[in-house]
Amino acid sequence: MNPRSMSEEELAIYEWQLDVPGHGVPGQEKLAGATVLVSRVGGLGSPVAYELAAAGVGRLVLAHAGVTKHSDLNRQLLMTHANLGSSRVECASRRLKELNPRLDVVAIDANINERNAAELVAMADVVVDAAPLFQERLAMNDAAFAKGIPIVECAMYDLEATITTQQAGRTSSLRDLVPEPPDPWQRRFPVFGAVSGAVGCLGAMEAIKCITGLGEPLFNRMLFMNLRNMRMRTLSLQAP
């Protein structure tokens, strides 16, 4: 990560967050010089990518295969009705650059797998895991741990969500928590877009904290949110 100096226009755009104690111009320059891998840019990854683009992260690597379907549109906020049948990741890239034309987007029309995980993860300073399949999540988490890159693990179900941030040498890995894909997990599950949006925004904030050093990321802690009864619980996780 190489911090990049701010233009006058950028200083104007980010003036509200430049006032956040502990952030300021040095933090903003770190964001501008950072690359974040987001996989995928669906219900969870869309708000992650959108908030990171809004915050001024310099480069996003987006990995997501396939074309926009009707069933995406309740939660995948970077997709549009007009994009039905066309590439998801291209639509996401276009939407993000409408918000932030300075953003550099690397759009990968593929999902993470054991073959491409190491290469894609190596492009990033921080990874945000928003993928639906545990094979994909484990491959990405293994690659992030091999490189020592922090990875934010976001997940959801129904009106519930979980989030934790992991890094080799500092925390346990996803494989420590989920040694193999859970049998009962199914590709399609009940969820509202407002739930994916809530945890996606938290995932973006975790990535921002990892990049800038602001605050305390969820290292060795997992936040459980139940939006049905608005109970929040943070469980400590065993350190390595």
């Binding site: 995928r40 669906g42 219900g43 969870l44 990854g45 895991d129 928003a130 993928a131 639906p132 399949l133 545990f134 999540r137 976001c154 997940a155 959801m156 179900y157 129904d158 519930e160 969500a161 979980t162 420590d176 928590l177 989920v178 040694p179 193999e180 894909p181 859970p182 049998d183 009962p184 997990w185 590709r187 399609r188 599950f189 009940p190 969820v191 994916s196 997992m222 459980f224 139940n226 009864n229 619980r233 943070t234 469980l235 400590s236 996780l237 065993q238």
Partner: protein
Amino acid sequence: MTSIEIEFLTQLRAAAGCDGMRLDSTEAMTVSTVIVQVIEAHPVLRALLVDEAGSRHGWLMIGVNDAMVARGSDPPIAPGSTVVLGTPVSGG
């Protein structure tokens, strides 16, 4: 008398159709004995908690009083504790 609150998360809550249960027992309890009693009360949860041999799933998420229980460990549960049981979930 040992009294423990059990909270179901994610697929366990959906399968049980309730947010949790309360266990009252005159005997000391551990995570394993709690799981046995949960299965007795909610047989529909059996496949989400243990495998065919009756062993706890490696991916089962178990919390006791704000700390996640390490895989394979079976800590005692003090009276008044809250036990959280859930399955891992993902994005999409």
